[in-house]
Amino acid sequence: MMKKLCRYLSPLLIAALVLGSLPVAAAPANPGSGLVTTQDALSVERAQGDRERIHEILARDDVQDQLVAQGVDPAEVEARVAALSDAEAAQMADQLEQLPAGASVVGALFAVFVILLVTDILGLTNVFPFTR
Protein backbone atom coordinates (compact mmCIF):
# COMPACT_ATOMS: atom_id res chain seq x y z
CA MET A 1 0.00 0.00 0.00
CA MET A 2 2.72 2.41 1.13
CA LYS A 3 4.90 1.29 -1.74
CA LYS A 4 2.12 1.89 -4.22
CA LEU A 5 1.47 5.33 -2.82
CA CYS A 6 5.15 6.18 -3.04
CA ARG A 7 5.33 4.96 -6.59
CA TYR A 8 2.71 7.49 -7.64
CA LEU A 9 3.71 10.23 -5.28
CA SER A 10 7.46 10.33 -5.99
CA PRO A 11 7.28 11.19 -9.70
CA LEU A 12 4.71 13.87 -8.90
CA LEU A 13 6.91 15.37 -6.21
CA ILE A 14 9.97 15.26 -8.46
CA ALA A 15 8.03 16.91 -11.27
CA ALA A 16 6.72 19.62 -8.94
CA LEU A 17 10.20 20.33 -7.62
CA VAL A 18 11.74 20.47 -11.08
CA LEU A 19 8.97 22.64 -12.52
CA GLY A 20 9.03 24.92 -9.49
CA SER A 21 12.71 25.63 -9.89
CA LEU A 22 12.73 25.93 -13.69
CA PRO A 23 11.96 29.66 -13.81
CA VAL A 24 14.98 30.29 -11.56
CA ALA A 25 17.22 27.97 -13.56
CA ALA A 26 16.19 29.43 -16.86
CA ALA A 27 16.18 33.07 -15.84
CA PRO A 28 18.55 34.88 -18.20
CA ALA A 29 21.17 37.11 -16.59
CA ASN A 30 20.60 39.84 -19.14
CA PRO A 31 16.91 39.92 -19.91
CA GLY A 32 15.87 41.05 -23.35
CA SER A 33 18.47 39.06 -25.28
CA GLY A 34 18.30 35.38 -26.04
CA LEU A 35 22.06 34.82 -25.81
CA VAL A 36 23.36 31.99 -23.67
CA THR A 37 25.05 33.46 -20.57
CA THR A 38 28.61 32.60 -19.65
CA GLN A 39 27.51 31.12 -16.32
CA ASP A 40 24.95 28.83 -18.00
CA ALA A 41 27.42 27.80 -20.68
CA LEU A 42 30.06 26.96 -18.08
CA SER A 43 27.79 24.78 -15.98
CA VAL A 44 26.51 22.95 -19.06
CA GLU A 45 30.02 22.46 -20.48
CA ARG A 46 30.99 20.93 -17.13
CA ALA A 47 28.28 18.34 -17.85
CA GLN A 48 26.75 19.24 -14.52
CA GLY A 49 23.52 17.30 -14.00
CA ASP A 50 20.19 19.14 -13.76
CA ARG A 51 19.66 17.72 -10.30
CA GLU A 52 22.93 19.23 -9.12
CA ARG A 53 22.08 22.63 -10.58
CA ILE A 54 18.66 22.65 -8.99
CA HIS A 55 20.25 21.68 -5.70
CA GLU A 56 22.65 24.61 -5.96
CA ILE A 57 19.83 27.02 -6.72
CA LEU A 58 17.72 25.84 -3.80
CA ALA A 59 20.76 25.94 -1.52
CA ARG A 60 20.65 29.71 -1.21
CA ASP A 61 17.40 29.71 0.81
CA ASP A 62 18.93 27.12 3.10
CA VAL A 63 22.03 29.18 3.66
CA GLN A 64 19.98 32.27 4.50
CA ASP A 65 18.20 30.38 7.28
CA GLN A 66 21.46 28.93 8.57
CA LEU A 67 23.17 32.31 8.70
CA VAL A 68 20.30 33.78 10.71
CA ALA A 69 20.57 30.80 13.07
CA GLN A 70 24.29 31.53 13.46
CA GLY A 71 23.49 35.03 14.69
CA VAL A 72 24.05 37.06 11.53
CA ASP A 73 22.03 40.28 11.32
CA PRO A 74 18.98 39.45 9.13
CA ALA A 75 19.47 42.72 7.27
CA GLU A 76 22.90 41.48 6.14
CA VAL A 77 21.96 37.91 5.29
CA GLU A 78 20.60 38.46 1.79
CA ALA A 79 23.62 40.39 0.57
CA ARG A 80 25.99 37.82 2.08
CA VAL A 81 24.29 34.93 0.32
CA ALA A 82 24.07 36.84 -2.96
CA ALA A 83 27.86 37.23 -2.99
CA LEU A 84 28.44 33.46 -3.01
CA SER A 85 28.90 31.43 -6.17
CA ASP A 86 26.45 28.55 -6.71
CA ALA A 87 29.05 26.00 -5.68
CA GLU A 88 29.96 27.94 -2.55
CA ALA A 89 26.30 28.31 -1.57
CA ALA A 90 25.82 24.55 -1.97
CA GLN A 91 28.92 23.91 0.14
CA MET A 92 27.63 26.23 2.88
CA ALA A 93 24.18 24.62 2.82
CA ASP A 94 25.57 21.09 3.06
CA GLN A 95 28.35 21.48 5.58
CA LEU A 96 28.37 24.81 7.39
CA GLU A 97 28.94 23.02 10.70
CA GLN A 98 32.03 21.20 9.41
CA LEU A 99 33.59 24.11 7.57
CA PRO A 100 36.64 25.41 9.39
CA ALA A 101 36.07 28.89 10.75
CA GLY A 102 39.18 31.02 11.07
CA ALA A 103 39.22 32.31 14.64
CA SER A 104 42.60 31.65 16.26
CA VAL A 105 41.90 31.25 19.94
CA VAL A 106 42.81 28.11 21.85
CA GLY A 107 40.24 26.70 24.19
CA ALA A 108 42.13 23.63 25.25
CA LEU A 109 42.78 21.59 28.36
CA PHE A 110 46.07 21.31 30.17
CA ALA A 111 47.00 17.96 28.58
CA VAL A 112 46.40 19.44 25.19
CA PHE A 113 48.46 22.43 26.24
CA VAL A 114 51.46 20.22 26.95
CA ILE A 115 51.13 18.27 23.71
CA LEU A 116 50.79 21.45 21.71
CA LEU A 117 53.75 22.97 23.52
CA VAL A 118 55.89 20.01 22.43
CA THR A 119 54.64 20.10 18.85
CA ASP A 120 55.15 23.86 18.84
CA ILE A 121 58.76 23.42 19.86
CA LEU A 122 59.17 20.78 17.17
CA GLY A 123 57.94 23.32 14.64
CA LEU A 124 54.80 21.37 13.77
CA THR A 125 52.30 23.82 15.16
CA ASN A 126 52.18 27.50 15.98
CA VAL A 127 49.83 27.96 18.92
CA PHE A 128 52.09 29.83 21.35
CA PRO A 129 53.91 32.94 20.24
CA PHE A 130 56.85 32.37 22.64
CA THR A 131 58.06 29.09 21.07
CA ARG A 132 59.54 30.62 17.99
Binding site: A41, Q70, P100, A101, A103, L124
Partner: protein
Protein backbone atom coordinates in the same frame (compact mmCIF):
# COMPACT_ATOMS: atom_id res chain seq x y z
CA UNK B 1 69.10 -14.30 41.68
CA UNK B 2 68.57 -16.15 38.50
CA UNK B 3 65.29 -14.51 38.27
CA UNK B 4 66.66 -11.04 38.67
CA UNK B 5 69.58 -11.52 36.36
CA UNK B 6 67.25 -12.95 33.90
CA UNK B 7 65.03 -9.97 34.21
CA UNK B 8 67.52 -7.21 34.08
CA UNK B 9 68.51 -7.43 30.42
CA UNK B 10 64.85 -7.87 29.65
CA UNK B 11 63.97 -4.53 31.31
CA UNK B 12 66.86 -2.83 29.62
CA UNK B 13 65.59 -4.10 26.28
CA UNK B 14 62.14 -2.78 26.99
CA UNK B 15 63.48 0.62 27.97
CA UNK B 16 65.64 0.77 24.88
CA UNK B 17 62.69 -0.23 22.74
CA UNK B 18 60.53 2.46 24.35
CA UNK B 19 63.11 5.16 23.77
CA UNK B 20 63.55 3.95 20.21
CA UNK B 21 59.79 4.05 19.62
CA UNK B 22 59.57 7.57 21.01
CA UNK B 23 62.49 8.77 18.91
CA UNK B 24 60.97 7.14 15.83
CA UNK B 25 57.61 8.77 16.56
CA UNK B 26 59.17 12.19 16.93
CA UNK B 27 61.24 11.67 13.80
CA UNK B 28 58.16 10.70 11.81
CA UNK B 29 56.32 13.71 13.15
CA UNK B 30 59.23 15.95 12.30
CA UNK B 31 59.60 14.19 8.95
CA UNK B 32 56.06 15.19 8.05
CA UNK B 33 57.06 18.78 8.53
CA UNK B 34 60.32 18.80 6.61
CA UNK B 35 61.17 22.15 5.06
CA UNK B 36 59.25 22.26 1.78
CA UNK B 37 61.42 22.31 -1.33
CA UNK B 38 60.82 24.85 -4.06
CA UNK B 39 60.83 23.82 -7.69
CA UNK B 40 64.09 24.62 -9.47
CA UNK B 41 62.43 27.09 -11.83
CA UNK B 42 60.85 28.99 -8.93
CA UNK B 43 64.17 29.06 -7.11
CA UNK B 44 65.85 30.50 -10.21
CA UNK B 45 63.23 33.09 -11.14
CA UNK B 46 62.36 34.56 -7.76
CA UNK B 47 64.41 37.29 -6.11
CA UNK B 48 66.22 36.29 -2.90
CA UNK B 49 63.97 38.56 -0.85
CA UNK B 50 60.64 40.27 -1.30
CA UNK B 51 58.38 42.32 0.96
CA UNK B 52 55.12 44.05 0.04
CA UNK B 53 55.60 47.04 2.32
CA UNK B 54 52.47 48.79 1.05
CA UNK B 55 50.15 46.16 2.48
CA UNK B 56 48.60 47.85 5.53
CA UNK B 57 48.32 45.93 8.79
CA UNK B 58 45.09 45.57 10.79
CA UNK B 59 45.42 43.86 14.15
CA UNK B 60 42.67 41.39 14.85
CA UNK B 61 40.32 41.75 17.80
CA UNK B 62 38.82 38.70 19.50
CA UNK B 63 38.28 36.04 16.85
CA UNK B 64 38.25 38.36 13.92
CA UNK B 65 41.27 37.37 11.89
CA UNK B 66 38.96 36.86 8.89
CA UNK B 67 37.71 40.46 8.60
CA UNK B 68 41.19 41.79 9.49
CA UNK B 69 42.87 39.74 6.74
CA UNK B 70 40.23 40.80 4.24
CA UNK B 71 40.70 44.47 5.13
CA UNK B 72 44.45 44.13 4.51
CA UNK B 73 44.17 42.63 1.02
CA UNK B 74 41.25 44.83 0.01
CA UNK B 75 43.12 47.96 1.13
CA UNK B 76 46.19 46.79 -0.75
CA UNK B 77 44.11 46.43 -3.93
CA UNK B 78 42.70 49.95 -3.57
CA UNK B 79 39.45 49.42 -1.64
CA UNK B 80 39.49 51.69 1.43
CA UNK B 81 37.25 49.46 3.57
CA UNK B 82 37.50 49.23 7.37
CA UNK B 83 37.56 46.12 9.54
CA UNK B 84 34.41 47.33 11.32
CA UNK B 85 32.51 47.40 8.02
CA UNK B 86 33.67 43.89 7.17
CA UNK B 87 32.79 42.23 10.49
CA UNK B 88 28.99 42.14 9.91
CA UNK B 89 29.63 41.04 6.31
CA UNK B 90 31.80 38.00 6.94
CA UNK B 91 31.94 37.10 10.65
CA UNK B 92 29.71 34.26 11.87
CA UNK B 93 28.84 34.90 15.54
CA UNK B 94 27.60 31.33 16.01
CA UNK B 95 30.93 29.88 14.87
CA UNK B 96 33.05 32.65 16.37
CA UNK B 97 34.92 32.80 13.10
CA UNK B 98 34.64 33.26 9.35
CA UNK B 99 34.22 30.46 6.80
CA UNK B 100 36.08 30.19 3.48
CA UNK B 101 33.17 30.62 1.02
CA UNK B 102 32.15 33.86 2.71
CA UNK B 103 35.72 35.16 2.67
CA UNK B 104 35.60 34.85 -1.14
CA UNK B 105 32.05 36.21 -1.37
CA UNK B 106 32.93 39.32 0.64
CA UNK B 107 35.80 40.09 -1.73
CA UNK B 108 33.26 40.04 -4.60
CA UNK B 109 30.94 42.39 -2.73
CA UNK B 110 33.75 44.94 -2.64
CA UNK B 111 34.33 44.81 -6.38
CA UNK B 112 37.46 42.66 -6.30
CA UNK B 113 37.88 39.19 -7.79
CA UNK B 114 38.98 36.42 -5.42
CA UNK B 115 41.27 33.95 -7.21
CA UNK B 116 42.11 30.75 -5.34
CA UNK B 117 45.75 29.89 -6.02
CA UNK B 118 47.39 26.47 -6.20
CA UNK B 119 48.28 25.01 -2.83
CA UNK B 120 52.06 25.05 -2.91
CA UNK B 121 54.82 27.31 -1.75
CA UNK B 122 55.93 27.99 -5.35
CA UNK B 123 52.59 29.58 -6.25
CA UNK B 124 52.45 31.49 -2.96
CA UNK B 125 55.90 33.05 -3.36
CA UNK B 126 55.35 33.77 -7.06
CA UNK B 127 52.19 35.73 -6.23
CA UNK B 128 53.99 37.74 -3.57
CA UNK B 129 56.75 38.48 -6.07
CA UNK B 130 54.06 39.66 -8.52
CA UNK B 131 52.92 42.19 -5.91
CA UNK B 132 49.85 40.29 -4.70
CA UNK B 133 49.48 39.81 -0.94
CA UNK B 134 47.98 36.34 -0.32
CA UNK B 135 45.35 35.41 2.26
CA UNK B 136 46.23 31.98 3.67
CA UNK B 137 44.29 29.72 5.98
CA UNK B 138 46.27 27.86 8.61
CA UNK B 139 45.48 25.43 11.37
CA UNK B 140 47.96 26.62 13.98
CA UNK B 141 47.26 23.60 16.16
CA UNK B 142 46.85 19.86 15.52
CA UNK B 143 43.93 18.37 13.56
CA UNK B 144 42.35 17.04 16.78
CA UNK B 145 42.17 20.51 18.42
CA UNK B 146 42.10 22.87 15.46
CA UNK B 147 42.93 26.55 15.77
CA UNK B 148 41.90 27.92 12.40
CA UNK B 149 43.50 31.16 11.43
CA UNK B 150 43.64 33.56 8.49
CA UNK B 151 46.78 35.58 7.82
CA UNK B 152 48.19 37.60 4.94
CA UNK B 153 51.49 36.51 3.39
CA UNK B 154 53.40 39.59 2.26
CA UNK B 155 57.05 38.61 1.88
CA UNK B 156 59.76 35.97 1.97
CA UNK B 157 63.47 35.41 2.33
CA UNK B 158 64.81 32.46 0.34
CA UNK B 159 68.21 32.37 2.08
CA UNK B 160 66.68 32.23 5.55
CA UNK B 161 63.79 30.07 4.26
CA UNK B 162 61.27 32.30 5.99
CA UNK B 163 57.90 33.73 5.12
CA UNK B 164 56.69 37.15 6.30
CA UNK B 165 53.05 37.47 7.32
CA UNK B 166 50.67 40.03 8.78
CA UNK B 167 49.15 37.67 11.32
CA UNK B 168 46.88 38.16 14.32
CA UNK B 169 48.26 40.99 16.43
CA UNK B 170 51.67 40.90 14.82
CA UNK B 171 52.68 42.85 11.69
CA UNK B 172 55.47 41.36 9.57
CA UNK B 173 55.72 38.19 11.61
CA UNK B 174 58.58 35.98 10.44
CA UNK B 175 57.82 32.28 10.16
CA UNK B 176 60.09 29.51 8.86
CA UNK B 177 58.94 27.79 5.66
CA UNK B 178 58.87 24.56 7.63
CA UNK B 179 56.56 25.72 10.41
CA UNK B 180 54.38 27.72 8.06
CA UNK B 181 53.95 24.83 5.65
CA UNK B 182 53.08 22.43 8.47
CA UNK B 183 50.27 24.72 9.65
CA UNK B 184 49.18 25.62 6.10
CA UNK B 185 49.03 21.98 4.97
CA UNK B 186 46.26 21.34 7.54
CA UNK B 187 43.88 23.59 5.57
CA UNK B 188 44.84 21.75 2.35
CA UNK B 189 46.97 24.81 1.64
CA UNK B 190 44.00 27.09 1.06
CA UNK B 191 44.96 30.54 -0.25
CA UNK B 192 43.62 33.31 -2.45
CA UNK B 193 44.50 36.72 -3.86
CA UNK B 194 42.01 39.59 -4.27
CA UNK B 195 42.59 41.57 -7.47
CA UNK B 196 40.80 44.39 -9.29
CA UNK B 197 39.09 43.35 -12.57
CA UNK B 198 41.76 43.56 -15.26
CA UNK B 199 44.53 42.07 -13.14
CA UNK B 200 45.19 38.34 -13.15
CA UNK B 201 47.11 36.20 -10.69
CA UNK B 202 50.62 35.25 -11.78
CA UNK B 203 50.03 31.53 -11.29
CA UNK B 204 46.47 30.37 -12.02
CA UNK B 205 45.63 28.64 -15.31
CA UNK B 206 42.94 29.77 -17.78
CA UNK B 207 40.25 27.45 -16.43
CA UNK B 208 40.61 28.53 -12.81
CA UNK B 209 40.68 32.20 -13.79
CA UNK B 210 37.62 31.72 -16.00
CA UNK B 211 35.63 30.25 -13.11
CA UNK B 212 36.70 32.99 -10.70
CA UNK B 213 35.72 35.76 -13.13
CA UNK B 214 32.40 34.10 -14.01
CA UNK B 215 31.50 33.90 -10.30
CA UNK B 216 32.44 37.56 -9.89
CA UNK B 217 30.36 38.53 -12.92
CA UNK B 218 27.30 36.80 -11.47
CA UNK B 219 27.53 39.09 -8.43
CA UNK B 220 28.78 42.37 -9.92
CA UNK B 221 27.46 42.26 -13.47
CA UNK B 222 28.98 42.19 -16.93
CA UNK B 223 30.21 45.77 -17.00
CA UNK B 224 32.33 45.30 -13.88
CA UNK B 225 33.75 42.03 -15.21
CA UNK B 226 34.56 43.34 -18.69
CA UNK B 227 38.20 44.37 -17.96
CA UNK B 228 38.79 40.96 -16.37
CA UNK B 229 37.63 39.12 -19.51
CA UNK B 230 39.81 41.41 -21.67
CA UNK B 231 42.79 40.57 -19.47
CA UNK B 232 42.00 36.85 -19.61
CA UNK B 233 41.96 36.62 -23.41
CA UNK B 234 45.06 38.83 -23.53
CA UNK B 235 46.89 36.32 -21.33
CA UNK B 236 45.32 33.14 -22.82
CA UNK B 237 44.43 33.88 -26.47
CA UNK B 238 43.75 30.17 -27.03
CA UNK B 239 41.03 29.97 -24.37
CA UNK B 240 37.88 29.84 -26.50
CA UNK B 241 35.56 30.09 -23.49
CA UNK B 242 37.36 33.30 -22.49
CA UNK B 243 36.54 34.91 -25.86
CA UNK B 244 32.98 33.63 -25.53
CA UNK B 245 32.63 35.21 -22.08
CA UNK B 246 34.14 38.46 -23.35
CA UNK B 247 31.55 38.48 -26.15
CA UNK B 248 28.72 38.11 -23.63
CA UNK B 249 30.11 40.84 -21.39
CA UNK B 250 30.55 43.24 -24.34
CA UNK B 251 27.05 42.50 -25.54
CA UNK B 252 25.60 43.14 -22.08
CA UNK B 253 27.52 46.44 -21.93
CA UNK B 254 26.01 47.53 -25.24
CA UNK B 255 29.01 46.88 -27.52
CA UNK B 256 27.40 44.57 -30.05
CA UNK B 257 30.09 44.94 -32.74
CA UNK B 258 32.76 44.07 -30.17
CA UNK B 259 30.69 41.09 -29.07
CA UNK B 260 30.54 39.77 -32.65
CA UNK B 261 34.33 40.01 -32.88
CA UNK B 262 34.80 38.17 -29.59
CA UNK B 263 32.44 35.35 -30.59
CA UNK B 264 34.33 35.08 -33.89
CA UNK B 265 37.60 34.81 -31.94
CA UNK B 266 36.00 32.10 -29.80
CA UNK B 267 35.07 29.89 -32.75
CA UNK B 268 38.44 30.58 -34.32
CA UNK B 269 40.14 29.31 -31.17
CA UNK B 270 37.83 26.30 -30.99
CA UNK B 271 35.61 25.59 -34.04
CA UNK B 272 33.84 22.90 -32.00
CA UNK B 273 32.52 25.36 -29.39
CA UNK B 274 28.85 25.10 -30.34
CA UNK B 275 27.62 27.61 -27.77
CA UNK B 276 29.83 30.33 -29.31
CA UNK B 277 28.44 29.59 -32.81
CA UNK B 278 24.97 29.74 -31.28
CA UNK B 279 25.49 33.13 -29.63
CA UNK B 280 27.22 34.45 -32.77
CA UNK B 281 24.17 33.43 -34.81
CA UNK B 282 21.65 34.82 -32.33
CA UNK B 283 23.49 38.13 -32.15
CA UNK B 284 23.77 38.42 -35.94
CA UNK B 285 20.04 37.83 -36.12
CA UNK B 286 19.40 40.48 -33.46
CA UNK B 287 21.38 42.91 -35.64
CA UNK B 288 19.31 41.97 -38.68
CA UNK B 289 22.19 40.21 -40.46
CA UNK B 290 20.18 37.24 -41.66
CA UNK B 291 22.74 35.49 -43.87
CA UNK B 292 25.51 35.54 -41.30
CA UNK B 293 23.05 34.47 -38.62
CA UNK B 294 21.97 31.43 -40.61
CA UNK B 295 25.58 30.53 -41.37
CA UNK B 296 26.59 30.53 -37.68
CA UNK B 297 23.42 28.78 -36.49
CA UNK B 298 24.01 26.05 -39.07
CA UNK B 299 27.45 25.43 -37.60
CA UNK B 300 25.94 25.26 -34.10
CA UNK B 301 23.17 22.92 -35.23
CA UNK B 302 25.69 20.59 -36.87
CA UNK B 303 27.59 20.02 -33.62
CA UNK B 304 26.17 17.27 -31.40
CA UNK B 305 25.78 18.29 -27.77
CA UNK B 306 23.61 20.23 -25.36
CA UNK B 307 23.19 23.26 -27.64
CA UNK B 308 22.13 21.41 -30.79
CA UNK B 309 18.43 21.50 -29.99
CA UNK B 310 18.39 25.24 -29.29
CA UNK B 311 20.42 25.95 -32.43
CA UNK B 312 18.00 23.93 -34.60
CA UNK B 313 15.03 25.77 -33.15
CA UNK B 314 16.67 29.13 -33.80
CA UNK B 315 17.50 28.05 -37.34
CA UNK B 316 13.89 27.07 -38.05
CA UNK B 317 12.44 30.18 -36.45
CA UNK B 318 11.47 32.87 -38.94
Amino acid sequence: MMHCRDRQPHTRNARAAGVLALVLLLLTLAGCAATPQLAETTERELPRKALLEDTPFHGQRDYQCGPASLAMVLNASGVPVEVDTLIPQVFLPGREGSVQPEMLGTVRRHGRIPFRIDGNLDALLTEIDAGHPVVVMQNLSLPAWPVWHYAVAIGFDLEEETLILHSGMEPERIESFKRFDATWARSDRWAFVALPPGELPATTDAQAALDAIADFERVQGAKAALPAWEALVGRHPGAAMGHFALGNARHASGDSQGAIEAFEDAVKADPELAVAWLNLGLLHRERGEGDQAREALKRAAALPGPWQEQAREALNAP
